[in-house]
């Protein structure tokens, strides 16, 4: 299955654009769509570049359809760096893909947390139970982490749940708020202002700076939301606080 997939990917070379971004970085862009095949290719190229262990590359960041390659020097000859990157892109298929994980993440969709469930329900003519079902039946892909430390950009939200961001963002959004903004869904890892519509709350910690792995998830991983009751939510909070909660997860083929 995995071999077949890589074989398939070999056939699919995207038309990439390369350009200088800053004095020390080059931006590589894929077609401008939010698409899982594009993301897979973005991450494949990122992983491949990382395995090459090029000393002059300081950091590689990705978003939905772009890679930013930051060098530890000021680029004098952009053309030659781009040529080198193009060669790497053609050779990227030989990389052995690392396994991704599927995380099962508890979410309480209780009305106490789901401040905007009623508005979405009324506008969409969908019962709240249906919103919860649609939100929790999908396996989401972590596209990248941004906006706030530990904020996962998740792809895969059901079209029926697409809902525009608020015109006037809230000044304070609770830590753990599970929200919908346009075509995207995500979890606020900390208290923050924000314009997304809140439908629930997740008790997990998404960013612990002093841990060796500050965020349990990384780009390419999968996430599924497990609806929990208000009582179960409190129970999980107690377990997390005493260090007795393990996030349920399983290995999956990237």
């Amino acid at each position: 299955m995995l071999t077949l997939f890589i074989f398939h990917e070999k056939l699919m070379n995207f038309e990439l654009s390369y350009r200088r971004f800053s004095e020390q970085s080059i931006l590589v862009e894929w077609p401008q769509n939010i698409d899982e095949f594009i993301l897979k290719d973005v991450l494949l190229f990122k992983q491949y570049l990382a395995t090459l262990d090029v000393k002059s590359i300081l950091q590689i960041n990705n978003a939905y359809n772009s890679l930013l390659i930051i060098y530890n020097f000021t680029i004098d000859d952009v053309y030659s760096e781009i040529t080198e990157l193009k060669t790497h892109y053609r050779q990227r298929n030989i990389v052995k893909k690392s396994n991704s994980k599927l995380f099962k993440i508890p979410v309480c969709y209780d009305e106490e947390f789901g401040l905007d469930l009623e508005i979405i329900s009324a506008e969409k003519q969908l019962p709240i139970s249906q919103i919860i079902a649609l939100h929790s039946q999908v396996v989401y892909t972590v596209f990248f982490i941004g906006f706030l430390p530990g904020f996962l950009y998740l792809g895969g939200l059901d079209k029926q749940l697409h809902f525009p961001r608020k015109k006037n963002p809230r000044q304070v959004i609770k830590k753990g708020a599970v929200a919908i903004g346009g075509q995207q869904t995500g979890i606020y890892p900390n208290v923050s202002p924000g314009g997304w519509n809140i439908i629930g709350n997740c008790p997990l910690e998404f960013f612990i700076p002093k841990k060796e792995t500050p965020c349990f998830a990384s780009a390419g991983d999968k996430v599924k939301f497990i609806p929990v009751s208000r009582l179960d939510y409190d129970d999980i909070v107690v377990k997390i606080n005493s260090g007795n909660f393990i996030i349920e997860n399983e290995d999956i083929d990237g």
Binding site: S22, E29, I145, F147, N190
Partner: protein, 281 residues
């Protein structure tokens, strides 16, 4: 220790920032003006990544509980050592009980206090740079004690000669590269972008600088993509945002320009109300 008797407007410990964690959404942070901070460190003979105290416009009052050599670079905030004004870019020895008071800001807006060996505050994710989500303290407050190294025979200032760029605080022409979405703007907006003096407004801080002026923006948002310190974004309302050192790592506004590293340093010393212009190389 260096004891904080009174905090300034916004004092933070900064080094050259946090690399390797942008994948988790963690900003790079670090000193706003790398030129000035590096200058203070190199005058003392510190390594470039030694942590310094960054102050903006109104500085703190500090008491030293041990002897150490210091150097202040960047903005001239009329700093007094025991009531005697001291010069920027010069080495001074402070003794036990000495007090440093920042005064009126004469030019620039960010000052850097370096101590020999660098401030020894906590390292989180390979950096001492203070940032709200990462370090226990997001800024210096009254009563905080900042650890420093003990002066001994192994720790001596090097008195190295440095060249000082006097134009640093006067540079209001910021050198830029074209951003990924620049070519999507119509010629008229492109021209205005490069031929308008923009006025820095009050919503400017370590995360971003913002401006009073408005441009017509024909572009829609982009699919959330990557940004860096120095990225100039154009919002749907036609406002420009120049991302600075504490900027988030992704953004959904069109990226019209990218400041050079030197221009980020120059802009860091420009005050609210000042006018700047972008110059494309």
């Amino acid at each position: 220790m260096v004891e904080v008797l009174k905090a300034g407007l916004f004092d933070t410990i900064q080094d050259l920032g946090r690399n390797g964690y942008q994948d988790l959404g963690v900003p790079i942070s670090g000193v706003m003006d790398r030129y000035a901070a590096t200058l203070a460190n190199s005058i003392l003979g510190n390594t470039a990544d030694a942590a310094v105290l960054e102050s903006v416009l109104v500085g703190p009052q500090l008491k030293f509980t041990q002897e150490i050599f210091i150097c202040i670079s960047g903005a001239d905030m009329s700093v007094k050592l025991n009531d005697i004004e001291i010069k920027t870019n010069s080495i001074y020895k402070v003794e036990v009980g000495d007090i440093i008071k920042y005064g009126k800001c004469k030019y620039g807006c960010r000052a850097y206090l370096a101590v020999l060996g660098g401030f020894q505050t906590e390292i989180v994710m390979r950096s001492r740079s203070m940032y709200k989500e990462v370090t226990a303290l997001s800024r210096i407050i009254k009563g905080v004690e900042l650890p420093i190294l003990k002066l001994n025979t192994n720790l001596k200032p090097s008195f190295s000669a440095v060249k000082i760029d006097n134009n640093h605080f006067r540079m209001t022409q910021l050198n830029v590269l074209k951003g990924p979405e620049f070519d999507k703007l119509n010629v008229d907006v492109q021209h205005k972008l490069l031929h308008t003096a923009f006025t820095i407004n009050k919503d400017s801080n370590r995360m971003a600088y913002q401006f009073d002026d408005t441009l017509e923006n024909p572009l829609k948002g982009i699919i959330t993509s990557l940004v860096l310190p120095g990225t100039v974004q154009l919002t749907p309302a036609g406002k420009l945002i120049v991302l600075m050192r504490d900027a988030q790592i992704t953004g959904g506004y069109p990226r019209v320009l990218q400041l050079t590293e030197k221009s980020i340093n120059n802009l860091s010393q420009q005050l609210i109300g000042c006018k700047i212009a972008f110059k494309c190389e």
